[in-house]
Every structure is written in C-alpha cells, then in structure tokens.
C-alpha cells in the first residue's frame, strides 16, 4: 500500500528518497524447455526496509475584503509529512505529521498515526492509534486530497478545523458479495471536536458508518454513506449525537479527458448540554474536468454552529490546474455570509506539491 503523506517543510528530507533498482531479465532465448521456464521475480524485493515517505506542501495567498482571522494573507499553509511501512507480516503503520504556522508560532501536529490490520480474515480489518473518524466521507480525506480549497463548513463547525482525528480503535467489516458494503465501528477520544467538546470523561465517542457502492457500467459510479455518532459532551454526563449522510457520484469515461464528480454531505447534530438546539449543515459540490489538466468546480456550504444560534453560508467557484498528479495550482473565489459575521468576498490562490511516495488513486 502506498500511503500518501502530505507535507513539506523539510524539503531536504526528500532528497534522500530514491528508488532501489532490481535486476531485470534480458530478452531471453528460448529452448525446448521454455514453456515452463519462469521468469525470476524482479519485484518481490524491490522495497527496502525503509518506510515510504512523502511530503506535501501547501502554500496559499488570499485577497479579501474582510479577513475575519489573523491568518497571513500569503505563505505556507501546511506541510504534511507522511510515513508508511509494513511493521511485520500482520501490521502496517502510517503516520501523518503536519507542520504549520499558527499565531506566529511554528507548530507540528500528529494528524494521524496508527497501526492497521488489513487482513484479519472474514472481512474484518482494524486500526489502532490516532485516526480520522469515519464520519461522512470528505472529512476523512487529508486537506491535500480535497477537490476544492478548504474543508466544507460543516467539518470545521461540527468536528474541528480539519475534521475529527482522535485516538481510539476502528473496526471495519467488508460484507461478502460482489457489491461493496462496509460497516465501520469506532471508539474514539473525541474531546477536541466541537460537538463533543470537553468530553474528558473517559467514555468514548462511538461512531458507526455504513457505506455502499454502485457501478453504473464502466464509466459511472456512486457511493452512499450514513453515519451515527454518540458521545459525551461537557463534564456533566450529557451526550451529543450526530447523524450524517454522504454521497459521491463520479463519471469518468476513459477516452475523452473529461470527468465529473458530484459530492454532497449533510450533518444533523444534537449537542448534549441542556437547552441546546439541534444544528444542521451540509454542502454540495460539482467538479468538472474541462481539459485533461484543468478542473472547474462550484461548491455551496451551509452550516449552523452547534450549541449556538450562529449560521453561515458560502458560495465557492474555482479552477484547478493540475499539470501532473504531483502538483497543482488552484484559484478560488468565495462569497460567505452569516448572522454572526459580515459578508466576505475572498480570492484565494493555492499552490500544492508532493514529493516522495506515489499518491494512491483513492476513490
């Protein structure tokens, strides 16, 4: 498995990444016995014991008529270092460490670090460590894997700025059969998530996610998912609940250099503390491949901030130029408004590059 790690910061680190080469066969002659003469494996030992490393660096700049944050208008947004390797025949390890600047200080944060048993048998897999919670679909992706500039508003409002990454255990079950159906059950210390804020009770947040996948011929497919999460919030024994639905549809004909991706998710949160109203939010986006290397997208966001009467919306329109799968330029215009903020128009530019391990073509 190839883990893609994003990061950057230490570009020099990647200089050391090189491909070990193995001897290949020359054009062989054939003799009477050639029908059973097998080639000597050329790839079985291609990987050394060194882990696969990748570094994804994300630079950004923004022009805004109303910048609500103290963020720099331009600079390094984040660098993510990813490391992955087999631990032994049973276990694989992955770690993602993000470097960023926050309030003028350099910070490093372990976004994920876990061990994964992918072959426990009978369709069961397991992860232990700090993991991305199986809530919806888009928040499980790292920021560099998004089709747009930033996570949808619901992610930051309900789960945290870059989604819910928390310590715990995750168990997956892949149902038998030709159609993909998967159930994931997790127990997490999610005390950093806004919806489960302050939940240092020693009681885990339970997350259940189910997803099913459908092919419509060779060129089109859709994945549907549903999430339920229940966990403590505050210190008084209250419990918050979250319901979520996620959908992605893809049309990817093989010959035209065109494609279409439609994504949508909706969250309904019920904060546990007394008197709190339910909060609803969602987003919908469409990304169209205009040319082999050029993608245009639109996105609409709406979110009610859990535990408050605040709500806001955002309309985004963007273009992504992706000369190769290893770097891209993105420009996005966003109009945002809400009942707790002035209207904001922003024009953002993103430059992202990846070095190291080849990125996985995730669905």
């Amino acid at each position: 498995m190839i883990c893609i790690l994003s990061t950057n910061l230490v570009a020099a680190l990647m200089v050391a990444i090189s491909h070990q080469q193995t001897e290949s066969k020359q054009l062989p002659g054939t003799g009477p016995g050639d029908s059973t003469a097998l080639g000597r494996p050329t790839q079985a030992n291609k990987n050394s014991f060194n882990p696969q490393i990748s570094l994804i660096t994300n630079f950004g700049a923004v022009l805004s008529d109303n910048n609500p944050s103290n963020d720099k208008s331009a600079g390094l947004r984040e660098a993510e270092l990813g490391i992955a390797a087999d631990v032994d025949p049973f276990l694989k390890a992955e770690a993602y460490i993000a470097f960023a600047t926050e309030d003028g200080k350099a910070i490093a944060e372990v976004e994920e670090a876990f061990g994964r048993y992918s072959n426990l048998g009978r369709g069961v897999s397991a992860k232990f460590g700090k993991i991305a919670a199986a809530i919806g679909r888009v928040q499980r992706n790292h920021a560099d894997q998004l089709n747009y500039l930033e996570y949808p508003l619901i992610v930051s409002d309900f789960l945290g700025e870059e989604g819910l990454r928390a310590g715990g255990a995750s168990f997956g079950y892949l149902f038998k059969g030709e159609r993909f159906n998967e159930l994931t059950i997790e127990a997490l210390d999610a005390s950093d998530a806004p919806l489960f804020a302050g939940a240092h009770s020693g009681v885990p947040v339970w997350v259940g996610h189910y997803r099913t996948f459908m092919d419509f011929g060779e060129n089109a497919s859709m994945q549907l998912g549903a999430t339920y999460a229940n966990g403590p919030s505050g210190g008084g024994g209250q419990r918050s609940q979250l319901w979520a639905a996620d959908m992605v549809y893809k049309w990817t004909p093989g010959t035209s250099g065109k494609s279409l991706v439609i994504e949508s998710e909706a969250y309904l949160g019920r904060p546990g503390f007394p008197g709190a109203k339910s909060a609803f939010g969602g987003f919908a986006s469409a990304t169209y491949q205009l040319k082999p290397n050029l993608f245009g997208y639109i996105k609409f966001d709406y979110s009610e901030v859990p535990g408050t009467s605040n709500k806001h919306k955002a309309y985004s329109l963007g273009l992504t130029l992706r000369p190769t799968e290893f770097h891209h330029w993105r420009v996005e215009f966003q109009h945002a408004n809400g009942n707790f903020m002035p209207n904001r128009n922003a024009l953002s530019l993103q430059f992202q590059m990846a070095i190291g391990a080849h990125p996985a073509h995730k669905y």
């Binding site: 020359q26 002659g29 993909f180 290397n293 799968e325 080849h358 669905y363």
Partner: protein, 338 residues
C-alpha cells in the same frame, strides 16, 4: 456494427468470468491478463479484469467495487513494474484478502515472468516524468512475453490447484501453439516448433535459418505481415509500444508526450514535427484512449497517417482475446505501408 462487435467481445470476456464450476477465481488488473488466465485455466478458472474497454491502465481509481471483487479472489494478477502503483495497493488492502497479498501464492506480477525493456541504468526522479523505475511496464505488447506470462500463470495455477495440473499444462501448450502459429504461420510452426522459432527470432537469425532449411516461403502470420515495416520510423503518443517495436523491428523516433505522463505541449509538438519530418516518419501510432488531436496536428504537418491501435483486449472491435488483440494491432499497423 462496430459497437455491437465490441459489446459481443466484452460479453464473451464476461462469460469467461462466470464459469460456475471454476476452482479458482482470478481477478486481474488488465483485460489481457484475464484473457491469458482464462486460456490457461479453462473450465477450472473464472477470470475477470478490473479494467475494461478503452481506459488508460495508468490512471485507474481504486473503486470500492474493485475491493469487493478482490475480496473473494483466489488469485490476483497485476502487470507490475508500478503500472498499477496508484490503485493496486489500496485495492489489495481494502479487500482484506490474505490469499492475494503481495508475496503470497495468490498474487502474481505478470512482468516477473517477462523480459523487461528500458530499465533505467541510473537514478530516476520525477523530473523524468511519470517514469517507471523498474522498467517499461507494457510488457504484454510483445507476444513473446505473453507466452512467458502464460507459462508463469500456468505454473501458479498448478501450485494452487494440483489436481488439474494436466489440464493447465495442456491448455498452456494449446495457447502457446495458437500464439506461435499466429506469429509465424502454422506451416513454419509444424516444421520447427514454436520454441525454436522464437529462439531464432530473438537471436535475429530466423530468416536466415528458415532460408537455410528451404522454408522461407512458409513464413506467415503476424511476422510476415510486419516484415515490410522493419526499420520504419514512427511516432507514438506514450512510451508504450517499445515491446511491439522491439519484436517487429520498427523504430519509435519520438513520443508526443514531452515526458511520460505529460500532456503534449506546443513546443514539444513543434520539435516532434521537425525531427519526424527529417526522419521520414510515415505514421503516428497511438492507443485508442488518447485524444487524436495532437497526432492529427503532427500528421498533417509531415504528411503522415494517424493509426489508432488497441493496447488491451476489448478496446476495439475484434479484440476479444489476447491473440485477436495482435490480429487487430498487426492489421492496423499494416496500414502504414498500405
């Protein structure tokens, strides 16, 4: 009509994958490998491919449905040499299937059985484009490699299903005999046997050896049709026809991609036009899943033809299996001189 033929070919391939009494369920990445596996496995194997139709095998996404299909597979066959690096690892991991984990008996890299061209002699970086550091992965585009891959797959089937060893050996012999006859003509194969002919051809001695034996007139098959193309300079879109060129001795002088995986640029196309013109290139040959506008541009400027060929089984009408894939490729390439 062409569409109907293509649908029939795909349906025939799909039918191969639904043999009810199969002992081994085989999932492959490309359709060529499924075709070879079906030919070797016969009724003991059901084989299907993840990639069907006109689709670039470099750029597949790891769809969850692929994981479900791999979850129940006894054997998983990929080309290897990092052709599938973007999607094979997540498919295998997501399948949770120990039988097909890399290194297990149920996992095969077909290129392990093949000879490999264009293995970089020094270090490689992504400044070289989306290069494959272990060599050019398009190994199946030399029928000789198809022969070697078939033997490797047969050996693995025998290991996993010993009871049917005789059938796998018999199917392998039949497959190789059909392939040899298609390559050299059945008259020549019946006189010398396939292995000897391949040996001579690999050494560059085939024509002199058969002439010495007074059998020059018996040469037939793909080789006879491709003889007039020996030494012919062509331009390709991607560096994917090296094995085909190596076997049939035509010369790839340029690629439309400035570097592997990169879209053609105006500057590079201008350079290609100059060099192709001075080299006397008569054809731009490319796979069916690439847009032809760049090839048309170059062809118009230098007075060459654009020849679109299938790279994999099922990509064009008449390419229902591995051998008919070459029938179509040879037929298309013959148009260069036509």
């Amino acid at each position: 009509m062409k569409e109907l033929t293509l649908i029939s070919a795909i349906a025939a391939l799909a039918a191969l994958s639904t043999t009810a009494s199969a002992n081994l369920k085989v999932v492959t990445t490309t359709s060529d490998l499924a075709s070879i596996a079906s030919a070797i496995g016969g009724s003991h194997v059901s084989a299907s491919s993840l990639i069907n139709g006109a689709r670039d095998p470099h750029r597949l996404e790891a769809k969850p449905s692929y994981m479900s299909r791999a979850a129940s597979a006894d054997v998983f066959i990929a080309v290897g040499l990092e052709l599938e690096i973007g999607y094979e690892p997540p498919i295998l991991d997501g399948s949770g299937n120990r039988r097909i984990a890399v290194g297990s008996a149920g996992h095969i890299y077909a290129s392990d059985f093949a000879y490999v061209l264009e293995k970089p002699s020094g270090g490689v970086t992504r400044a070289d484009g989306d290069i494959h550091p272990y060599g050019n992965p398009h190994v199946w585009l030399d029928p000789y490699n198809g022969r070697l891959i078939a033997a490797g797959i047969a050996a693995r089937f025998e290991k996993l299903d010993k009871a049917n060893t005789a059938d796998y050996q018999s199917n392998l012999k039949n497959f190789q005999n059909r392939l040899d006859s298609a390559m050299f003509g059945s008259a020549l194969v019946s006189k010398f046997g396939g292995p000897k002919l391949w040996q001579w051809h690999n050494a560059g001695d085939l024509r002199s050896e058969i002439a010495k034996a007074g059998a020059a007139k018996d040469l037939g098959g793909w080789l006879e049709k491709m003889l007039p193309l020996a030494g012919t300079p062509i331009v390709t879109y991607h560096r994917s026809l090296s094995y085909l060129a190596n076997r049939f001795k035509f010369k790839v002088v340029e690629e439309l991609e400035p570097k592997p995986g990169l879209e053609p640029t105006p500057g590079h196309l201008s350079s290609v036009i100059k060099s192709a013109s001075s080299d006397g290139v008569k054809a731009i040959v490319q796979e069916s899943f690439y847009a032809t506008k760049h090839a048309q541009l170059v062809a118009t400027r230098i007075g060459a033809k654009v020849i679109v060929i299938p790279q994999n089984v099922g990509q064009m009408p008449g390419t229902g299996d591995y051998i008919s894939l070459f029938d179509v490729i040879v037929s298309k390439l013959s148009e260069i001189k036509g």
